[in-house]
Subunit: 388 residues, 2 copies
């Protein structure tokens, strides 16, 4: 496969992140879908100091808007709300919609078609009953899993059980991930859960699906995030991007204790970015459940198989540890408005690479990674960003 | 705006259509969403004589899959069904989802990231009650229009009324478009309505919303279409592509008797393709309603304002006329599975440019155009294709 064009190292194909913005994440009863999307877009434009008229294309990542807020046609929707009439499109890849929207924006700049594009991710999840949200989310799998009664907590619980069978896994190892991400969330005013939790509290919470307890699961969240991508030089550059896909259902996978798509996406992203894994200073990874963070650490190659479960326990993945993971609080504590998550990860890494992360700032962060997953691993997308 | 990169005239950025396939369009009770999507993809691969493993990315255009068949994550869905694990994404822009998916595939090839990609469009509309379909389609507008009782027939009826106020418009002029497109459909075995109608029959049908009668409206359709795009030389090349957007609701438009997004998309497509309007030999245009074909002819600049209404009456737009329009039967007679339509238009023009259109073959067709609209004109996308 020819992936040379994907590299951000060719000077004529360099793509920079000029602006980045995240709305508050949470149960935002007083904000509409439109409010969130427009706030994120305008925030990114302001951060980039770019006038709306300079935007040549708009890409919007969202998964559930048509089901939950009866709104499709999101590219033109946002373009029109900003007073533009530029090319615009919506990108969907389940919970990886935001990451794929950034990727499509990156490719469109590399095609030479545009100088500057706006990429937004958005989800308004609290405007429907939880049954509708759960049912909508199951659209990320193939039909079979929903029909036999699976929901995402039970899918990831099965993955956790399989991991436990293979490597051993204690509830407190899972809980340690939640404690760490809540700690990071406590340092992020935009996080849905802007407070710490204790290990005891996490372990005292009910099982949703064994071995995943309440505090092992990300919540239902409203929120949006946006970035302005440009061929004009800015403080942060996208070095490269990798995507891989796999079967939507677990039934067709060889093993449940790792996500092949993550491995494939990481391999491509490293290759086109011409970066060594060891050079990465921090990462936002897709921790929709605590087990998912462990799998990500292993599948991205930061930890060897079976060793990812000890990372949070040993405090290596705290913002001031050896390899800071999910300094935003992750999906777990910052929140998981599905279509927005992949874009928010980029916003967090940009914030860190610019040295603007305040209390949770990672020291001397030069290269950061974002890892966004759709479904139970049907899609994975990895971006590698660097401070210029 | 820099649109240089959009041109297909730069040799290093040339993009060819290697394969094209359309499923039968209709009320396909015996086929599932998956069946249609996979049939289209495999058909295009076979036509291209490309093995699935040569596909480096998959793009799927669809509007309603999450609402009607509870299936999202369509990129990975198709990639997985084909036994691939390549980058994959779903593109949505209401009824222009298919056209935008082709456009995104075109850009991704121009970015240099891939040699060969598969683009599919699909919709399964008959698996839900018509209220659900109507309600889903209204997601193409902003919320206001649905709330006050508009549906798409009434939106386009308002546009027809406005056109009539401005230029005069007889029911039989509208009906002449339906008669022409049914005639073309009668020559296309894949068309939903593979039969002719008389002017009398069209004029005797009930009003759905005055002045639009039953035969002025496209139907509810199941179907899929796919193309293989490649940087390797093939018989048909994409010369260029243009997209423009506008407000989703009519209320924010200055006039209802033309679609500004079509004008903007056409202007860009002509510029980047370096083609003169007069060189275009045939076009598939977005005739979701008969009035929409008239608007398209004028907004694309083929007819001056107020003159498009006479084109079908004068038989100029028949396959053997001066400017053949909708030789497939158009949305009206071939059918309108919304996410598939934009891809099907490309398939028809490829078929014509290759000289494989049988009874409805346009003589000496060298350059063809596809025009796909989202909603009531919130998005328009134009592609210009040429025989090599």
């Amino acid at each position: 496969m020819n992936t040379i064009g994907l590299t951000g190292t060719d000077p004529v194909k360099r793509v920079y992140i000029q602006g980045a913005y995240q709305t508050h994440f949470g149960e935002l009863w007083d904000k509409s879908f439109r409010d969130l999307l427009v706030e994120a877009a305008q925030g990114a434009l302001e951060d980039a100091q770019v006038a709306p008229q300079e935007i040549e294309a708009v890409l919007v990542g969202s998964m559930l808007a048509e089901r939950i807020v009866d709104q499709g046609h999101l590219g033109a929707f946002l373009s029109s709300e900003l007073g533009l009439n530029c090319p615009a499109v919506r990108i969907e890849a389940a919970c990886a919609s935001g990451g794929l929207a950034v990727r499509e924006g990156f490719l469109s700049l590399q095609s030479g078609s545009y100088e500057t594009v706006l990429v937004a991710g958005v989800e308004k999840m609290t405007d429907a009953c939880s049954l509708e949200v759960t049912s909508g989310l199951m659209g990320a799998t193939n039909g079979e899993e929903g029909l036999v009664g699976f929901t995402f907590p039970s899918i990831y619980a099965l993955m956790a059980q399989s991991y436990r069978d293979k490597y051993g896994l204690a509830d407190k190892e899972l809980a340690a991930v939640a404690v760490k991400n809540h700690y990071h969330g406590s340092l992020n005013l935009k996080a849905q859960y802007n407070h710490e939790i204790t290990l005891e509290k996490a372990l005292a919470s009910d099982y949703i699906c064994e071995p995943l307890r309440l505090f092992d699961c990300s919540g239902i969240t409203d929120g949006a995030a946006a970035v302005v991508l440009s061929r004009k030089k800015a403080k942060v550059r996208i070095l490269g991007s990798g995507v891989a896909t796999d079967s939507l259902s677990l039934a067709k996978r060889k093993k449940f204790y790792s996500i092949e798509a993550t491995k494939g996406a990481m391999e491509k992203a490293l290759r086109v970015s011409r970066v060594k894994r060891e050079e990465i200073d921090l990462a936002e990874v897709h921790d929709c459940f605590t087990i998912a963070e462990m799998l990500a650490l292993e599948d991205l190659g930061f930890y060897s198989p079976g060793r990812g479960k000890r990372a949070a326990v040993k405090k290596e993945t705290y913002f001031n540890g050896r390899l800071p993971i999910n300094t935003s609080g992750g999906l777990k504590a910052c929140g998981h408005p599905v279509g927005a998550t992949g874009v928010k990860q980029i916003v967090e890494v940009v914030t860190q690479l610019r040295g603007e992360a305040g209390e949770r700032q990672v020291k001397e962060a030069k290269i950061g990674l974002c890892h966004n997953v759709g479904g139970s691993g049907g899609t994975a997308v990895v971006h590698i960003l660097a401070r210029e």
